[in-house]
């Protein structure tokens, strides 16, 4: 998460300390006596540099012990309205934790017409009786036992792995509705464990669904309801070691189950980083990134996942696929890595990845620029991309999102700060004549050598000035990045008060960015109205990545569903319409979330008949019995 890397070393360490405390707490607890879990662990092929393996990891086998079973993130962290009716962010994990957010209530009431009086409670605990009993393949279980790989068919474990974080998935959980869930969960500890599991699955015709961080937003983890075989969720979370670091070539060989925050933290300890920071990096895993073609916030410096991977291993029903060397580029026919990248768990399990690493940046600096309107902002980003001088991250938020960010300002401690804030506001709106209902803000993150950062910063601000942009301080920048990661928690708060929402993304050529943003936002408003949504929805976007030939755009969409009999259905119809509008306006089906099952319907028109045939024939060869039967993508 952007946030984690923000406050410099001291803050990072503080967080790490906290996490360590929590995790040691878990470790000290007596090992669960759940009969289903076998205690035999396989030894990872460890090396000397694997100093970190002894340290605590974020993701335990029983995830629901520290994470919400029906919402986003850690159980101890959530937004709520306290007794005084003020919004508060609980826990101790984030910078916003423990703080009062005075503006949030008004913003929620003003934006959605929501009311603190009208609560829509979630089912507090999982009722195991609503989970169908596991459909076990006895022969498979028998043989699995003999391998010593831990497994479970505990209801809580299975339910946790039956979903990602799509709105309809979380909404159903909150209502206590459980659909088809995996019949059992296995926790391989290393590549060889995975090989054994896949062999057994093939032998006994069991359906395998790889599970990494569980942060999917494409219905990719949903169990196909038509699947009659026993479904086994293959949780990679225990394959979380850095196996070696090669400082000569600046690569690290890592097990694919490691989650982003652990990977960064462990590499940081050796003075390195990958620089791959998707918004979900607290929970999403390396294997998941590979399987969905993930993109990180700082891709301008470090590249997207496909640029970062040097080598990888995937276990398929046909055997293990990997390249024979680690050459930085090869001309050996179509790159087989590209069959794996974006395969969304339909071909096999990614087990180990060799990734590029970089020395940790010496200096980081946030920044922000206010533009009189979104059009000017986009023109500025386009120019920055043209000059190829984009900072590590640059994001342009529209007016609604700017206001949203504003509503998330924590209570100010000193009168002086609020005085300064008032002065800034006066300067921008009155003195510079910006319309508060049109202005928008770009947030920036610079990284690298101190001198170069400062030089770079000047270059970018100079360009911005040409487009009417005014520098608006580091603070605003930092808060902008915080927004993207607390938003997932905020959705749970919204759902407590009849507000549902989601984000979705696309990529689009530069010349169509403005048209696409306007059309999609208008379409959302239009569709909501058509479908009887009582209040105008929140329909907002940001340009979140820049490329030579286009940009990645991220939309947030939420509405108050009071008065609707089937809010999720309405939600899905609107989201579908929004995607149609994206495609009609020249946008892509997905920039980094993937296709899953949610966007499958558009695949054929997206990649053509022949393209579908190519993918299908790979699937048919690699996995003829459809062992990896999550039915994503095709």
């Amino acid at each position: 998460m952007a946030f984690n890397s923000s406050g410099g070393g001291s803050y990072r360490q503080q967080i790490a300390q906290q996490r360590l405390r929590i995790i040691t707490g878990h470790l000290q607890r007596p090992e669960d006596d759940d009969s289903a879990i076998s205690a035999v662990e396989c030894k990872a092929p460890s090396s000397e540099s694997d100093a970190s393996s002894s340290e605590g990891k974020t993701v335990p086998r029983r995830r629901h012990e520290i994470m919400k079973w029906n919402g986003w993130g850690y159980s101890d962290t959530r937004f709520l309205f306290n007794k005084k009716g003020q919004a508060e962010f609980t826990g101790k994990r984030y910078r916003l934790s423990g703080l009062i957010i005075p503006g949030l209530k008004d913003w929620m009431e003003g934006t959605f017409g929501a009311s603190v009086q009208h609560k829509s409670q979630a089912t507090p605990i999982l009722n195991s009786s609503s989970v169908q009993p596991p459909n076990l393949n006895e022969a498979f279980v028998e043989e699995l036992k003999s391998t010593g790989v831990p497994y479970s068919h505990d209801a809580e474990d299975r339910v946790f792995r039956a979903h990602g974080h799509c709105l309809h998935e979380i909404f159903a959980l909150r209502e206590g509705k459980i659909g088809r869930v995996p019949d059992m969960v296995v926790w391989p500890n290393c590549h060889d464990d995975v090989v054994k599991i896949v062999e057994l699955a093939c032998k006994h015709n069991v359906c395998l669904i790889p599970y990494g961080g569980g942060t999917s937003v494409s219905s990719a983890l949903e169990c196909p309801p038509e699947e009659t075989r026993s479904i086994v969720s293959l949780d990679t979370s225990q394959m979380n070691r850095i196996l070696w670091i090669d400082e000569k070539n600046l690569t690290a060989h890592v097990e694919a189950g490691i989650v982003g925050q652990d990977l960064e933290r462990l590499l940081n300890e050796s003075g390195y980083c990958t620089g791959h920071e998707p918004d979900s990096m607290e929970f999403s895993s390396l294997g998941g990134w590979v399987a969905t073609r993930a993109s990180g916030m700082k891709k301008n410096i470090y590249g997207n996942i496909e640029d970062l991977v040097v080598h990888m291993k995937m276990v398929t029903p046909r055997g293990v696929i990997e390249k024979s060397c680690q050459g930085p580029r090869m001309s050996t026919g179509p790159d087989i890595h590209h069959f794996i990248l974006g395969s969304e768990g339909t071909l096999g399990v990614v087990t180990e990845v060799t990734m590029k690493i970089r020395p940790m940046p010496e200096y980081q600096k946030y920044g922000s620029v206010v533009f009189p309107n979104f059009e000017q902002g986009v023109a500025c980003l386009r120019e920055i991309a043209k000059q190829r001088c984009a900072p590590a991250s640059v994001r342009l938020m529209d007016n609604e999102q700017f206001k949203f960010g504003h509503a998330l300002k924590p209570q100010v401690s000193s009168i002086f700060t609020s005085f300064v804030d008032g002065l800034k506001k006066f300067y921008i709106t009155k003195f510079k004549g910006f319309d508060p209902n049109r202005l928008c803000v770009a947030t920036l993150l610079f990284e690298g050598n101190r001198d170069r950062v400062l030089q770079h910063e000047k270059q970018v601000y100079d360009i911005a000035a040409k487009f009417g942009g005014l520098a608006a301080g580091e603070d605003n920048g930092q808060r902008g990045y915080m927004l993207t990661f607390v938003i997932a928690y905020l959705r749970d708060l919204g759902m407590d008060y009849y507000v549902i929402g989601e984000s979705f993304e696309t990529s689009v050529p530069w010349d169509r960015v403005l048209d696409m943003c306007r059309n999609v936002k208008a379409r959302i408003v239009h569709e909501c109205k058509e479908r009887g949504v009582q209040f105008p929805p929140l329909s907002t976007c940001r340009v979140t990545q820049t490329y030579d030939a286009g940009a990645c755009v991220y939309f947030y969409f939420a509405f108050n569903y009071r008065g609707l009999s089937d809010p999720v259905h309405v939600y899905e119809q609107v989201e579908h319409a929004a995607r149609e509008e994206i495609l009609a306006s020249g946008g892509s089906l997905s920039h980094h979330h993937g296709v899953g099952k949610l966007r499958k319907a558009w695949m054929r028109e997206t990649i053509s008949n022949v393209g579908m045939g190519m993918l299908q024939s790979v699937k048919d060869y690699v996995d003829p019995a459809n062992i990896f039967g999550n039915r994503n993508l095709l």
Binding site: D511, R512, D515, M516, R518, N519, A522, R523, H526, L583, A584, S585, G586, E605
Partner: protein, 685 residues
């Protein structure tokens, strides 16, 4: 038969609810015109846009990628420097662009009020339509599509919008207005921009023009206004739509440059058209006076007469987005930069054509019909019948009143938007209509008839001596054509049943398929003459059956279509209504078979066919002098060209027409109902 939700609501026209009207002149008659002209005018604009200067618009157009691309292209093709071409473009734009000024509008608001109060009893507007329009202007770029029957139309539109504090439109006008120096500039300053009548091959002109229109539209600077029919209809019948501008205004939506475009059909109906006899003369071949300022002043005598009332109906805004849903895949524009001009695909052309017809239909449906329209239809039919049978011409007041009441009820059942005053007795209504149109009717021996005997009625200034038979014929035709232009206003109401009635008349049996074939043939033949949506033959047939069954005139079984006892009168009336057109097409066919030389050019066609028709009329071989209408003759030729019976030659004999005499002959026979219609049956029931 794909039917649109927007229209399917009106499947049964009887169920259609229309808005009420309000007279905008009423207030003007009781308060100061000057204050009205100077009042505070603050229209709401699209998404709160601030109005932009005309000069800014010009520079946006000249700097657009679209224009730059074409300028470079033209430069490569012609070898001229880009700078020169840029200058050319700038000159084109200068010639074209509007210079809307509020002061000019205020001037017009003042003078027009004076004029209107003189000319018209009332100008009625549906206020609900105005409210819908106001809403639409704020949400989406709006295109106003008024019907076009008179020069008055576009002044009237701007006048109404000013009155209701709505954004003033920018109006596409034909270059012919430019001939009038002062007036042309006045119109320019009241929001008109001028386009050449034809610029087919001129790439640069097209680029400047389309970019100009799109820039106005995309930025929502002002509502755009143009006439779908392309020119004023001289016959009061809707003209088949022109697609060029509609294509241009839809393009930004297809390319995702705007979220939606709202098209607002506006129906303007005049109780009495100012250009009444002017049009008739024009149709008969007396060339229209070139528009000139002095000519306009001569027309001042027009100003002293009573022209009754005007009704303006602002229709339901039609969203291009919903209209094209499921029909146009907008992804087709994803792979090519949008500033590169591309010929619209067949899919898009078809869609635009379809939409254009639907919009003209919407205009037609909301045209207010005055009682006189019905009287004109009755008197015309009576005129022709009495001529044929040698009876005394004319109807007594009672007969006319009784027949008018019958026709009133019939037209209402067919969904006509008839403005028949309910508070007055039918005979009062008839009297008042007759007095407004006293130039066209006369009373002789207690019988009301068309004023055809003395040609002098039409132009009282001229001496009545020494008239040749031909002149007399033309003078009579002026009255007939003037009268027909009122009957034509009601044609769209009766068209489908009338086609069915004629089909029944022509078909050799009552077999349903045969009747349908005959219907389909006639419909196809007349699709340049009337507004008949392409591809809607079955729908139209069903509608006609439905209407005639509903009123008890037909019995339609699974295989047969039977006329009932009481249906005879209505069916007779309906066939008579179409008869002049049938005869007109037949005589054009006959001309082409008998007289057309090898070297007949398109240009020569109208004068030649006119001579031919005059000869036959004078010889008493033709019944309807209406067939002298050049509009009808042109439409007939267009239909024959479309059907391939006549071909335009290319190459050496450019402009000449090649007639397939066998085919023309057989079409003529089929029109006369002598042959079974097998060939024409394209669609089957």
């Amino acid at each position: 038969m794909a039917s649109k939700p927007v229209y399917s609501l009106h499947r049964n026209p009887m169920l259609k609810k229309r808005d009420d009207f309000e007279d905008v002149l009423e207030e003007r008659r009781s308060s100061s015109d000057l204050r009205y002209a100077l009042r505070c005018y603050t229209p709401v604009l699209y998404k709160g846009m601030t109005p932009s200067k005309a000069s800014m618009l010009k520079s946006m157009v000249l700097q657009s990628d679209q224009l730059h691309f074409v300028m470079k292209q033209v430069s490569t093709e012609t070898g001229k420097a880009v700078d020169d071409i840029q200058e050319e473009a700038s000159a084109i734009l200068e010639e074209m662009a509007h210079r809307l000024q509020l002061s000019t509008i205020r001037f017009f608001a003042y003078t027009l009020t004076k004029v209107f109060k003189n000319l018209f009893r009332s100008i009625c507007v549906n206020e609900e339509g105005i409210q819908r329009l106001q809403q639409a202007i704020q949400e989406h770029p709006v295109v106003l599509l008024p019907s076009h029957r008179s020069y008055m139309d576009f002044l009237l539109m701007s006048y109404i919008l000013y009155t209701y504090d709505l954004a003033l439109p920018v109006i596409a006008a034909g270059m012919d207005f430019m001939g009038m120096k002062v007036v042309g500039e006045m119109l320019r300053m009241s929001g008109a921009f001028f386009i050449r009548r034809s610029f087919g091959g001129d790439k640069l002109y097209w680029a400047v023009f389309s970019e100009y229109v799109k820039t106005i539209l995309k930025n929502g600077f002002a509502p755009l206004e143009f006439f779908l029919e392309g020119t004023r209809s001289r016959t009061a019948k809707s003209l088949t739509p022109k697609l060029g501008l509609l294509n241009i205004v839809m393009d930004p939506f297809f390319k995702g440059e705007v979220f939606d475009v709202n098209l607002v059909p506006v129906s303007i109906s005049y109780e009495r058209i100012l250009e009444e006899s002017l049009y008739a003369r024009e149709l008969l071949g007396v060339p229209k006076p070139k528009e000139s300022t002095s000519g306009l002043f001569k027309a001042r005598k027009v100003l002293s007469e009573d022209y009754g009332s005007i009704h303006i109906y602002f229709g339901q805004p039609v969203s291009v987005r919903s209209l094209s849903q499921g029909k146009i895949d907008r992804c087709q524009f994803n792979l090519i930069p949008r500033h590169i001009p591309k010929k619209p695909t067949e899919e898009i052309q078809g869609f635009v054509n379809d939409s254009a017809y639907r919009l003209v239909r919407a205009q037609e449906e909301n045209m207010v019909l005055k009682p006189w329209v019905l009287l004109a239809s009755l008197l015309l039919q009576n005129h022709h019948q009495s001529q044929a049978s040698g009876q005394r011409p004319g109807l007594t007041r009672d007969e006319l009143t009784q027949q008018a009441a019958w026709l009133r009820d019939l037209s209402r059942q067919y969904g006509a938007f008839l403005h028949w005053p309910d508070h007055a007795s039918p005979s009062e209504v008839v009297s008042s209509s007759l007095s407004l149109h006293r130039g066209l009717v006369k009373m002789s021996e207690g019988r009301i008839q068309l004023a055809v005997e003395q040609g002098g009625q039409v132009n009282p200034g001229e001496p009545r001596t020494a008239v040749t038979p031909e002149e007399e014929l033309l003078n009579r035709a002026v009255v007939i054509l003037s009268c027909a232009s009122y009957r034509n206003q009601a044609l769209h109401v009766f068209l489908r049943p009338a086609l069915l009635a004629s089909a029944l008349h022509a078909a050799s049996s009552n077999h349903k398929q045969e009747v349908f074939n005959s219907f389909s043939f006639l419909r196809n033949m007349f699709s340049n003459e009337f507004i008949l949506c392409p591809g809607a033959t079955v729908q139209d047939f069903e509608e006609a059956c439905f209407l005639l069954m509903k009123t008890g005139e037909l019995q339609v079984t699974e295989h047969e279509v039977l006329v009932t006892e009481r249906g005879q009168r209505t069916l007779g009336f309906l066939t008579n209504m179409l008869d002049p057109f049938l005869q007109g097409y037949q005589v054009v066919c006959r001309f082409l078979c008998e007289e057309a030389s090898e070297a007949l050019t398109e240009k020569q066609f109208i004068p030649d066919v006119r001579k031919f028709i005059i000869k036959h009329l004078l010889a008493g071989r033709l019944r309807y002098s209406e067939v002298l209408s050049s509009d009808l003759q042109k439409n007939a030729l267009a239909a024959l060209l479309r059907l391939g019976a006549v071909q335009k030659m290319k190459g050496a004999q450019q402009g000449t027409l090649k007639v397939n005499k066998v085919m023309v002959n057989s079409l003529e026979d089929t029109l006369g109902g002598k042959l079974p219609t097998q060939k024409a049956a394209v669609a089957r029931l």
